[in-house]
Symmetry: C3
Subunit: 417 residues, 3 copies
């Protein structure tokens, strides 16, 4: 392979890595915007820790659980050993991954994905989970559940051998993270004051600018998430993925706009924002397989699903402050099925395989997460005290406020009282 092509491929994969990294800022601001003012430090703290813990555990064992090597083709589980093993010089680097990228690039691109699953959970369990329990849950999820289920398809495991298709992770990242979130929320229970006397009380997020910023940053990062999943800079493939990704996100906004207006008779910003995310999650499984019209259809339907799903979960008393289960679990499954309905792989047999694969990953993750969360509940406890929940996690767990008045202003205010 010519050096220029190898270099261009690798440059793109590293740019994609940066973009996926920035999604963690997107998740951080989205979740911070959708929680109450008194729990903002807590959610920022969790997001800063998740990406850090995620990279380190993926380095220690995740990468080699997810890509255990060719010996484990078709398997349910494999492990390639602890830590990272060096590539064998420049020739080895080019041979690695057919000239798409180096060994190091492979690790760091995949590592940025790994922490996403835990981040999805963090929004859903926000405002009432104990920090330490959440961190332990995250470590185990990222270290074990994510790479094991990921291996089933991307590591050449049994789902891959059975023809399951998931281009960039509608199932392996999003439905997986969403299933973990749902399990965690069920063990944890809703926030105090959310469901009172059979009524659903809205608890508005504290900052819409932060939430909107998060969605734009996630959309931005998704060009790397999907575009990097081509695993080379192949011009036609990557640019098609850009087109399908962008159109699905745009159509998701329109779908959510229409359905939420029909349902609530108002222009609901959080629905449109989640509609964009739903469109992005929906296109992720087949972003390389669709034409523009199919991409628009998939995104539009995902956007329509969002308000329906959010209301459904709320009626079922599944309290998810940011709508993570609707966005990631429901639209993740939808996107996985869409590969069997639209585009170049459409067909009843494929649709069946897609359903099968999605359910397998979701079921495994749900059971794993429920068991883990339950174990934490009966040991160290998963929920903060009622007093702490009312006062806010920022004061109790972090001894600080997200927003502070200027010292002299406060002094001034005290002096005039």
């Amino acid at each position: 392979m010519e050096q220029g092509l190898f270099t261009a491929n690798n440059v793109w994969m590293l740019v994609a890595t940066c973009l996926v990294f920035l999604m963690h800022l997107g998740f951080a601001t989205l979740e911070a915007g959708f929680v109450q003012k008194k729990n903002v430090v807590n959610i920022l703290f969790k997001n800063a820790m998740i990406i850090s813990i995620g990279l380190l555990t993926y380095c220690a064992i995740g990468f080699n659980l997810m890509y255990p090597g060719e010996d484990f083709a078709g398997a349910f589980f494999g492990f390639g050993g602890f830590g990272l093993s060096m590539p064998e010089g420049d020739a080895g680097a080019i041979a690695y991954a057919d000239g798409g990228y180096t060994y190091w690039t492979d690790f760091i691109f995949q590592g940025m994905f790994a922490a996403t699953a835990a981040t999805i959970v963090s929004g859903a369990v926000a405002e009432r989970i104990k920090l330490n329990s959440f961190l332990i849950f995250s470590v185990v999820l990222v270290a074990l559940a994510y790479p094991i289920t990921g291996m089933w398809k991307w590591g050449g495991g049994w789902l891959d051998a059975n023809g399951f298709y998931d281009f960039a992770g509608s199932t392996l990242v999003h439905a997986m993270g969403g299933a973990a979130a749902l399990a965690a929320v069920l063990v944890l229970g809703p926030r105090k004051g959310k469901y009172v006397d059979g009524k659903i009380k809205p608890i508005p997020g504290h900052s819409m600018p932060l939430a909107a910023m998060g969605v734009f940053l996630l959309w931005f990062g998704w060009f790397g998430f999907n575009g990097g999943s081509v695993l080379s800079a192949d011009p036609v493939a990557v640019s098609l993925v850009f087109v399908t990704t962008a159109l699905a996100a745009a159509a998701g906004a329109i779908g959510a706009f229409i359905i939420s207006y029909a349902m609530f008779k108002t222009h609901d910003l959080s629905m449109v924002l989640n509609g964009i995310l739903g469109g992005l999650v929906g296109i992720t499984a087949g972003a390389d397989q669709m034409g523009p019209l199919a991409a628009i259809a998939i995104g539009f339907i995902a956007g329509c699903i969002i308000p329906l799903s959010v209301v459904f979960f709320d009626r079922a008393k599944v309290d998810d402050p940011v709508g993570a289960t609707s966005v990631h679990l429901v639209c993740g499954i939808w996107g996985t099925l869409a590969v069997g309905i639209f585009g170049s792989m459409a067909g009843l047999k494929q649709l069946w395989i897609q359903l099968y694969g999605a359910l397998a990953v979701v079921a495994f993750t749900f059971i794993f997460s429920y068991a883990l969360m339950y174990l934490l509940k009966v040991t160290i406890g998963v929920r903060v005290s009622e007093k702490e929940e009312l006062k806010g996690l920022d004061v109790e767990e972090h001894e600080m406020h997200a927003y502070s008045e200027s010292v002299e202003e406060s002094a001034f205010q005290l002096s005039i009282k």
Copy 2:
């Protein structure tokens, strides 16, 4: 062409696409920062919808209106048919655009530009326009006015045939969007309380951090806006564009700093921020034609223009909460003329052509937008009620606040009253 070079070109164009996409977050935070607290959800909603609508309409008809094909060379108008047509395999992809990028890349890069025109308008008409009227205005502007005037130059139309030069859109994007903004503001009228008893009352923006963030993000994105307009990754050309773009922005800050200090005897942050944007708009028409000194001169003059223009429009009772007309219309025309004054194309004949082309685009867009806005005014109405304007668009149009206190804190406050 060697595969490595084609791939590298296409990678750069896709990275530029991402950067231009992020400008929409820049516009969103800039505009959100410069409006009042009670209208923040509304401006965020509009920005999320604009990029979505913009991409979809550009896919449906805009792209083929703007680039109708070689048959329409030198024309005023052309249309290549609805939707996107697939490229003919890898060989076709390389042949497309002389190996600079693929068909898909072309569409998505151009599509990110298209929505910009409507975004420029959204800031100027903020805080008093009806949401539905604005959305209809945006759709028509992006679907028709932007691609038709864009075709005049970039689609090989009559301005191109006459030697008009506009590298990345000082006229075709910025003056065009600014002219539409001016027309919309004139039909709409100023905000209540802005011009009272012959006095200009300042209505301060609600968050300077959001505004400043917007400017940094726009500057960041501009490297893709101008750098991508090279339409390949040609190393000398793209890197020169980076240098001229950055120096013009920097000089714009200095120009606005000096003139605004001379005028107001204070260090006005919004002037410096808009000075940076003015410098960026100013360099855009000739970013590939200038050396470093010319770029500094163009940016510096653009920065000096900003405070003068803002005061001029305010005295003329053109109420533009974010200064969009000054930044995009005035500095857009200045940048277009600058191609005839500085750099490798300087000359009296070119200056004349530049003036001619800028006025043609501005006049067409202004008349088109004024007529469209007037039509909306006499049909569904363009302005919210006085009560709604006072209460804020967030509550009336969106039934939510941009910022909320924590639920229990509020309850606590109620209980102690």
Copy 3:
């Protein structure tokens, strides 16, 4: 060299340039978040001016002071003349920098670094420095001190000739900026109310979301800061740098988490955020020389240093609102030494050279900055009046507030009083 490879190299360097540019937004939001509400406009103003002034002065003299040419190899000082000189066509462009990038790319990448030193200072001196004094200080620092000390290593000067190693600037950028910050703070003195009656009074930052956003953006930008310092897109080298950079940042978070919990018995968000930055500064000197384990060790130790160093400086009454001296000076020196302890250059002789080089740069910068600041103090003054400090710099220097209530809301509030 094949055109594709040259182009891919140059694309990467330009992407890295964009990433480093965005670090200025990261610094702006980090510093804005850590200061009080009444000084936010001021810090944003300074950050917008610093990048602008930095680019212009680097264009005028900095670049040619830092890279004076081969005649000055091994020297203490050299100057290649004012302004930028054009490259000699495409052949010249490829020959320049061995096909890594063009002359223009070289300038703009280095120019984005140059302003960083002044930005580091701006956080440390926040909330009490006179704007004009700070701007003069910044101009001189960026124009003279940064390029002169930078030339010692990167321009082929005496430290380079002596075997000193600093891959991307733990010493040349970070310890340098941190030393300037320390000198400036010592001349300036602490904020009023910070050290009262022998007690240290915390002055909390006004917005943790802004601060957290800054750290994520800085981490994002650091992939360009370190990754671009490879000075080509060499796949193995750049991807290794990505891995070491990311792992060190992650380990920095863990180190700061553990030590700050041990010290303060709480989960301190600002410590974890600064721990990430400490890890990034720490790995910067040897990001291309380390394996994953060494990178984790370096970042972890840097993270552990942060809470200790912050407390140390606070006890020494060095009032640094954002912790810039701990992050940049202390971890910068640590990272420089780490090149002699870990990785492929480890050795007692190298350790000695590293110490020697770091101290040389720190000492020169400290003396230079102290003298400059002292000169400003005895001439135009460096500190705002006590009244201005209490009222806030935003009102006094900028006549505006960072955050404003909506006009009608305020009017409403007045009317009900």
